[in-house]
């Protein structure tokens, strides 16, 4: 019988050995595949066992995102809290179970959960895991100034629109606000309440500063003037005759104001045309340069590509001509695009506040466009700086001389032109207004793009306010920009 017993023993051992093979398979080869499965709740829960990094405003003290700890099923889980509520919502986004993530919470998830490839972080989080202690993510310090951000939100209260403030020499985002917005603390459990708004428009989750598409109106004249001066085809003193309209395709295109009796300036030069935002002047500039040249300069400023920023790519859009909702890059611009209307910001132009702020900041920075960024530093849980974001040059769309001539023209616009509402006593302000007709009678999208001080710019601001009945860039948007610049420079 012993032979059979030996056989039986071997058989039993083979069965058990098969189990070892089985468990090895699931825990090694199949491991990654299982982890990627959508319905794998363990991965979901595990993501809540990580103490996500905090997010601070530029002062390093104002906490924008932090965690609350809860004991559930014997495990310590961390849930996100946003002490500043809606003020930073559009930039920071949210991290929840039911609706996943948006904003920096999405795009910097790797850093915030300590799973980024940085050596220091890898060591630390692996060690934490081995020790069995809580994995802590990296902290993020933003470039956004808390006071300026709160002011921007307050100024937008009750309106629909957005504000982007940049530091021209570095590309730091000093403020980025949009209204209406939402309270990220309510997203998980009270989504309907989180997105409720008293503002006269919807889309509370949309970051209008980077994903809102607006007609630029006369603010686009900054781009046209850049092309005019930079190509050497015009100077600020180039003479124009303004009869109150310009002729395009044999038809009159009238200046702003009463259609029956439009503003008429007579003999002017390019500088005056900019100062008073005379459409006929720019119409003729556009016709002279051709749509291709104007679009080429738009392109050099970064139109037609999604502006770089740390927020998720799908929360930003490119500026440019749009046709049937799609970005339209004409192959033959001189036949496909109306050069006169393009030159003063009509045609099918759609731009984002971020892009216009970048145009303003580039002019302020003597023609050098800095890469916009809103993360200053990333800190390890121990407080060491893991990554420090150095200013980076993005492009040089115009010559220094062009930029300085434009600055002068923008200063004149604030001193005695359309943008007088942005004057700050004792500080030289440069700015350009914009008022785009929405097509509904007397309802306008109002713009102001500006920077200050003009001789040594420290802040560039783009403001857009939607749906203003009888409002203009100079009366609605300019005062907002003024208060922000004043607060920033004081």
């Amino acid at each position: 019988m012993n032979k059979q017993i030996s056989h039986l023993g071997v058989a039993a051992l083979i069965l058990l050995a098969a189990l070892i093979v089985g468990v090895t398979y699931w825990q090694t080869w199949a491991n990654a595949g299982l982890a990627d499965r959508q319905d794998n709740d363990i991965k979901l829960v595990a993501s809540f066992t990580i103490k996500r990094g905090k997010i601070y405003a530029a002062d390093g003290r104002t906490v924008v995102a932090t965690n609350v700890r809860k004991k559930i099923g014997g495990q310590t889980l961390y849930f996100r809290r946003y002490p500043t509520g809606p003020i930073f919502a559009d930039v920071v986004g949210y991290s929840t179970q039911s609706r996943n993530r948006t904003g920096l919470e999405q795009s910097y998830n790797d850093f915030l959960t300590g799973s980024n490839a940085n050596l220091d972080t890898v060591f630390r989080s692996t060690f934490d895991r081995l020790k069995g202690s809580t994995v802590t993510g990296n902290d993020i310090v933003l470039t956004i100034r808390p006071g300026l951000q709160a002011l921007a939100r307050r100024l937008l209260q009750g309106k629909c629109g957005a504000v982007v403030a940049l530091e021209p020499s570095t590309g730091r985002v000093l403020a980025m606000a949009t209204n209406p917005t939402y309270n990220p603390n309510l997203v998980e459990r009270h989504f309907a309440q989180a997105t409720r708004t008293t503002a006269p428009c919807g889309a509370t989750l949309l970051n209008r500063a980077t994903a809102g598409k607006y007609q630029p109106g006369s603010t686009f004249k900054m781009v046209t003037a850049s092309a005019a001066l930079d190509t050497g085809r015009f100077t600020p003193d180039s003479p124009f005759d303004d009869p109150g309209y310009c002729i395009e395709y044999g038809k009159q295109v009238r200046n702003a104001g009463n259609p029956e009796a439009p503003e008429t300036f007579g003999h002017v030069n390019l500088s005056t045309g900019f100062e008073h935002s005379i459409n006929s002047v720019f119409c003729n500039v556009g016709k002279a340069l051709g749509a291709g040249t104007v679009l080429k300069y738009a392109d050099r400023y970064g139109f037609y590509s999604v502006p770089p920023l740390e927020t998720p790519e799908n929360e930003r859009v490119a500026s440019g001509l749009y046709d049937h909702g799609k970005l339209f890059a004409p192959k033959h611009p001189d036949t496909q695009v109306d050069p006169g209307r393009l030159a003063f910001g009509q045609e099918r132009l759609q731009v984002t506040p971020l892009q216009m702020a970048m145009v303003g900041a580039t002019i302020a920075n003597h023609g050098v466009e800095m890469r916009p960024h809103l993360i200053e530093r990333i800190l390890s849980p121990g407080g060491h700086t893991v990554t420090h974001y150095e200013p980076k040059r993005l492009a040089t769309p115009i010559k220094r001389q062009t930029a300085d001539e434009l600055t002068r023209m923008m200063e004149l616009a604030v001193q005695g032109g359309t943008g007088t509402a942005a004057q700050i006593p004792g500080i030289r302000v440069a700015g350009k207004t914009g008022t785009a007709e929405t097509g509904r009678s007397n309802i306008n999208t109002t713009w102001f793009v500006s920077f200050a001080p003009a001789d040594n710019p420290r802040i560039a601001v783009a403001v857009v306010v939607e749906n203003q009945a009888g409002g203009f860039g100079g009366t609605v948007a300019a005062p907002i920009a003024k208060q922000l610049m004043e607060a920033a420079l004081r």
């Binding site: 039986l8 058990l16 468990v23 829960v45």
Partner: protein, 425 residues
Amino acid sequence: MIAVGVLTAVGFASVYIARQDVVSTSSLAYAGFFLLLYLAAHLVARYTVPFADPYLLPIAGLLTAIGLTEIYRLHPDDAFKQGTWIVVAVGLFALTLFLLRYDYRQLESYKYVFGLTAIGLLLLPILPVLGLTVNGARLWVHLGPLRFQPGELAKIALIIFLAGYMREKREVLAQGRLKDWGPLLVIWVLAILVLLETRDLGGGLLYFGIFLAMLYVATARIAYVAAGFGLFLVGAIGVWKITPHVQERVTIWLHPWTTHKVYCPLSGEPALRQNCQSFQLVKSLYSIGHGGYAGTGLGKGTFSTIDGHPLIPGASTDFIFSVISQEIGLIGAAGLLLVYMIFVLRGMRIALLAQDGFSKLLAAGLTFGFALQTFIIVGGVLRVIPLTGITLPLVSYGGSSVVANFLLLAGLLLVSNRANREALR
């Protein structure tokens, strides 16, 4: 015998450390109490079966300790109940050793009693008042607050019967005379019918496997095993054809995940299979996969959702292995399986050393039963074979299982004691 002490100490040291990790100091009392319990069990064994194999009791201790730790981790209240059952089991273990310490072979004379007892026990849950259906299988008997799975004890009784009967009839069985096969076949067919009725597929596979294994040991006829396998396959296909329950098990085994919604018999509506019938298996696989090489660490695993609901239904019973795999990883899970292998090696060694046919058959049957039960449940959890609900010996939560497996252990120690004593003489 020193090994006993060392292994027990190591076993408890690990439990002790683990417990500290899981919760606070109250668990220290647990550890101390169980150390005393095993010391007592050891002393009883020393007194009653001084020549017995020194590895088996510590291994059993280690396994129950691992199980208890994980049960404690999942549901502290259940751990207390399980602890109580372990006390009962150790008590019965001691009683068995004490009563049968001179000669367990007297059991052989009562083989038919055991055979009938096995059938009786298996039939109990079908009785209208006592029976109870849990998770689609009618396996339980309840008497007031007490619930019991008699099938576990039936396993032991069946092995004793088979050992006795086959010892007596092994020569004639080998010749293949129909007359002598009669009682065996009758009991076997009855058992399978009962199992079909109770829908306990895991149990059916276990009893049938034990039967074939013991038949092989007794007759040395591979042909019987082959015939048995054939019979089993025919039976299995037949059962598969007629029972939707079985068909479902096989479907879940082969295709636990679907990319399109399929009919879900639980809700009656279309759903992804991983959200319906194979929910438990799939969640358990995620748990195992999450363990990786080293595991999450004891007490650090994830077994509930963010809202606090349990992730794997039945985690402490049928799916205890996936809990262990997640917390102690591949190293620990493979280690646990190695412990089972050592148990099986020692058990087979006892069967080899035993002097008489009854003892050999008994030890081989008990050991193989232990191994096969482990294979059926762990194999099911790991998708090696279709999943059928059955307990992981000595580790799973469940009183009847612990009691039955301690009786199994007592049996092995008794055989071993006698064999070693004879050898020394």
